[in-house]
């Protein structure tokens, strides 16, 4: 299982930037596989992000950061 958490593709327009709306976990916390960790948004479409694996989360793109779709927003160590 990948330990990368990437911004999901929510818009077919690759140029669209996304917003990391909410982190439900804090940097350095331990997370369980499948745990709700973030809510993200492109324009008016939002989506939940679950932890792909268990471990300690290191947040790369903080709340309210804008990033490209598929960008790395966290890793789980």
């Amino acid at each position: 299982m990948s330990n990368e958490v990437r911004f999901p593709v929510l818009s077919s327009d690759q140029a669209s930037e996304g917003l990391v709306a909410t982190w439900f976990v804090a940097d350095g916390e331990s997370v369980k596989t499948g745990q709700l960790i973030a809510e993200v948004q492109v324009d008016k479409v939002s989506a939940e992000v679950q932890a792909p694996t268990a471990g300690v989360i290191r947040i790369i793109a903080g709340a309210q950061a804008t990033v490209k779709q598929e960008a790395l927003i966290a890793v789980i160590e």
Partner: protein, 344 residues
């Protein structure tokens, strides 16, 4: 690097207010098969303000039902089902829409228990979105909790935090009375509204109740009591932190429930501070702020060292245009000015 090499913080489960509400509803639906949800756009859409997200997928269309735009019919249906032993949760999309169905609410839902001499119970939750601040105009921005609290026979709860949103929802579902559950759009933690850091907070995973009728002192202080509710709790806490740097210590009371009102918590705080500011996003006159002033003066007018003050909507419909809307909403600027006046 492995987990054991780093010292991981213990997982603290946080939720936004909307997700906490939904979790409370889902846990009660798991526990009690008589609980069901109905209203406009509560199914596939998941509630316009995400108050029912995922419930249709989890519990199916026999327990989570979209209704026609027929509020009289479906709120009346909830009342009837409640009198037959079910526990409906019925959503009125915006509280502003109550006018089309008010008879079913205040003459039926709220009076049946009394009129039956206590023989009939109406255990339902009427949940509804309230509040402005995003230019939705005069018919989609009101709070109106004072209207519901004025009319006898309904409990009225108004949470401000994720944990209270869940606990009050569970308490409301389990209560044997009709409970009007009012959630401000600005406290829900919705990604498509202005970010509100206080809309995300730790929420216990298990089912629990926050008792209806119990206010919370969410900040201690000796100088001024700010009695408030809903989104205005967030604003009042921000102001209290700001004024603390100037040496003014506010005690902030989150009322959480309007009916029944926790008078003891208000009175003991006012007895300590001697100054009372009510911050209320509802209309100013004939409502909550006047009621709190009355409670203090009918108990002991000598409790107050300074004249009572209130920051509310000054009896004008909520304007659309932003500078007008923010002139009438209880903003942090207005709250801070009122506190300074009280201690000045």
């Amino acid at each position: 690097m492995t987990v054991t090499e780093k010292e991981a913080s213990p997982a603290i489960r946080r939720l936004t207010t909307s997700k906490a509400m939904v979790e409370g509803i889902a846990q009660e639906m798991e526990r009690d098969p008589s609980v069901f949800v109905l209203g406009e756009d509560v199914g596939a859409y998941g509630g316009i303000f995400s108050s029912t997200t995922g419930l249709l997928e989890r519990f199916g269309p026999s327990r989570v039902m979209d209704t026609p735009i027929s509020e009289t019919a479906f709120i009346g249906l909830a009342t009837g089902a409640a009198t037959e032993g079910m526990r409906p949760i019925v959503e009125l999309m915006f509280v502003d829409f109550f006018g089309v169905a008010m008879d079913q609410i205040y003459n039926h839902m709220a009076k049946i228990h009394f009129e039956s001499g206590g023989n009939v119970k109406v255990p339902l939750v009427l949940m509804t979105a309230v509040g402005g601040g995003y230019s939705d105009g005069a018919q989609h921005s009101q709070c109106l909790w004072g209207t519901f609290a004025h009319l006898p026979g309904m409990k009225v709860v108004v949470p401000s935090s994720p944990a209270d949103a869940k606990g009050l929802m569970i308490a409301a579902i389990r209560d044997d009375n009709p409970v009007v559950y009012m959630f401000h759009k600005g406290i829900m933690g919705l990604p498509w509204m202005a970010p509100n850091p206080r809309a995300l907070a730790p929420v216990p995973e298990e089912a629990y109740e926050v008792p209806i009728g119990s206010a919370a002192v969410v900040r201690q202080g000796n100088d001024v009591t700010i009695a408030t509710l809903s989104l205005s709790v967030h604003h009042s806490l921000d102001v209290a932190e700001e004024l603390s740097a100037e040496g003014i210590e506010c005690e902030v009371i989150d009322l959480r429930t309007l009916v029944p009102l926790d008078r003891a918590t208000i009175l003991s705080s006012v007895a300590k501070t001697g100054r009372l500011l009510v911050v209320d996003e509802d209309y100013q006159s004939f409502g909550l702020s006047g009621e709190l002033a009355a409670i203090v003066t009918e108990t002991d007018p000598r409790l107050l060292k300074a004249p009572f003050l209130r920051v509310a909507v000054p009896d004008v419909p909520i304007p659309y245009s932003r500078p007008l809307e923010y002139a009438v909403l209880p903003t942090k600027t207005r709250i801070a000015a009122a506190v300074r006046k009280l201690v000045g």
